[in-house]
Amino acid sequence: MSALRIYVPGDAAAAACGADEIAVAIAALAAKRKISVEIVRNGSRGMHWLEPMLEAATEGGRIAYGPVKLADVESVFEAMVAGGGEHKLRVGVPEEHPFLKRQTRLTFARCGIVDPRSLEDYEAHDGYKGLAKAVANHGGIVEEVIQSGLRGRGGAGFPTGIKWKTVAETKADRKYIVCNADEGDSGTFADRMIMEGDPFVLIEGMTIAGIAVGAAKGFIYIRSEYPHAIAMMTDAIGIARCAGMLGKTVAGSAFAFDLEVRVGAGSYVCGEETALLESLEGNRGQVRAKPPLPAHKGLFGKPTIVNNVLSLATVPVIMDKGAAFYKNFGVGRSRGTMPIQLAGNLNYGGLFETPFGITLGALVNDIGGGCFTGRPVKAVQVGGPLGAYFPPSLFDTPFDYEAFAARDGLIGHAGVVVFDDTVDMAKQARFAMEFCAIESCGKCTPCRIGSTRGVEIVDKIINGENPEKNIELLADLCNTMKFGSLCALGGFTPYPVVSALTHFPEDFKPARQREAAE
């Protein structure tokens, strides 16, 4: 009899919920019971309220159990040995779970399913099919990416193919592919999940980018807060190199491409592409003025593609299944699917990949199941610390770059953070300014000085000092920051502040007045 295969996610979210200890306990139990098991540390399926979610490979497919605590290990193990038997924590076939069934997983097709360190597993699940097509028709890669309608998943939403075309057409002795894995936005974890659960798809996407534009070297800049992702990407690059999928002759072709992982150092602004390039070069992470564009003069002054993890990880499926297949999903100018991250005060948080167009309300209520505190939702911040706060009255907004922009918001990196009615929006506005002050690179005045003045003004409003005048001043300051800052840090900090002021004015009334009103 072959070994019983048990999946225990190695994803950081699962590990933080105790998955590592459970993997050790299962191995010990199997040894004690003399049952042969193979433990696979897979990525997460993205149903994080069920983590650690264990799966057993049975004759009837994979059967999941979760959330498993140490005390449950023995009984869950019994059920697994019995071929996926009954248990109070039995989830059943993961793909049949409504949370997964409602999704369209293109970028995340393999995440949670494969063994992330197995190249064989990757290839058995359609891995490297995109690269094969890219190598066969390398002159057509850029056009395929343009036709797919793929836009930057980091937040800016710039058409990925156009960026690639610019780099491809710029003549230089060296070019670079840089992957922005500095996923600093609170409420986002999709990059981390892909790197930990399906690292080869990022390697494949970057390799295709290199072939498309004539770059032989790539860097993955991963934030230091992601040690699991750093370890996994480093291992995966080594495995790919040993297998000849990176190096002087990629997959036996005439193309050379290799990768290096670089670790950030705790600076949020380094997620901005030019600050990231400065950081890679070994400088302070200060934003560069554009032009020149990184596509013309990027890393070490050479033409450089800077793309987010999700953008690059989506390229292989586009190359494999074709631009038309990908473009067929989505709405308006937002084509394809978006891995949306549901976070904060939600019953069912996790990763939900779906075509653009789903409404914010469906995400928060139908899929996320509302607040775990059992209280009503008061505000939802979409797009990280620089994203606007939306009240439930805007829940009909479809998830789409333009629809959010039309309502003075942004989808950013698609993080959705839900707050219940205990949140104080003046405090959140203050935090937005405070965060900007902590993380400002200091290069431009509106961001460096404006953020500190912003904190002071919000404090005055909260304390009831000339509230009307100060609210006017705050709006004016936000206007200056929005139009006068060099990058999105200072430029977008007004989004959470102004949206809080616009949609929740009652929270900006002085404390004494608010108490009197209650």
């Binding site: 933080a16 540390r41 705790g266 976070a343 948080g349 610390p385 219940d420 949140v423």
Partner: protein, 164 residues
Amino acid sequence: MRNTDKRVAKYEPFGTERTAQIIAEHKDLEGPLLPILHALQETFGYIDQAAEPIVAEALNISRAEVHGVVTFYHDFRAEPAGRHVLKLCRAEACQAAGADALAARAEARLGVAFGRTTADGRVTLEPVYCLGLCSVSPSAALDGRIVARLDAGKLDALVAETNR
């Protein structure tokens, strides 16, 4: 991939020879400064100011440039941390799940403010802006070991661990 890797970090005392050796190991990378600084901090636990001129000389840049980089990034320490480092996420997804109250509790339990080390050098309390565990928030990390779904009980247990 064990979640317990850096539970008890052991650092070497700062030394200029060891510093030079670390620089030599990374010098040929493209853009070597950050990898060098990370390696120095992993070895010594902090970046001694005496290391800055050595790095500057090796990379043919000014001391001011090295100092500028060291001080720009939140990760780099100018002096050793406490024996344990407790990081609490203070960002929005954790705020939404009650992180502010836990942060106040941590300060009260340890008797220090964020960014400070207890007088006995036992633990340094630091904020972190997102560990990427936003769907299982609030979250924390003790000496690199991440903990999700933090509540008062789990926080107290982490604080107790620093007493061992």
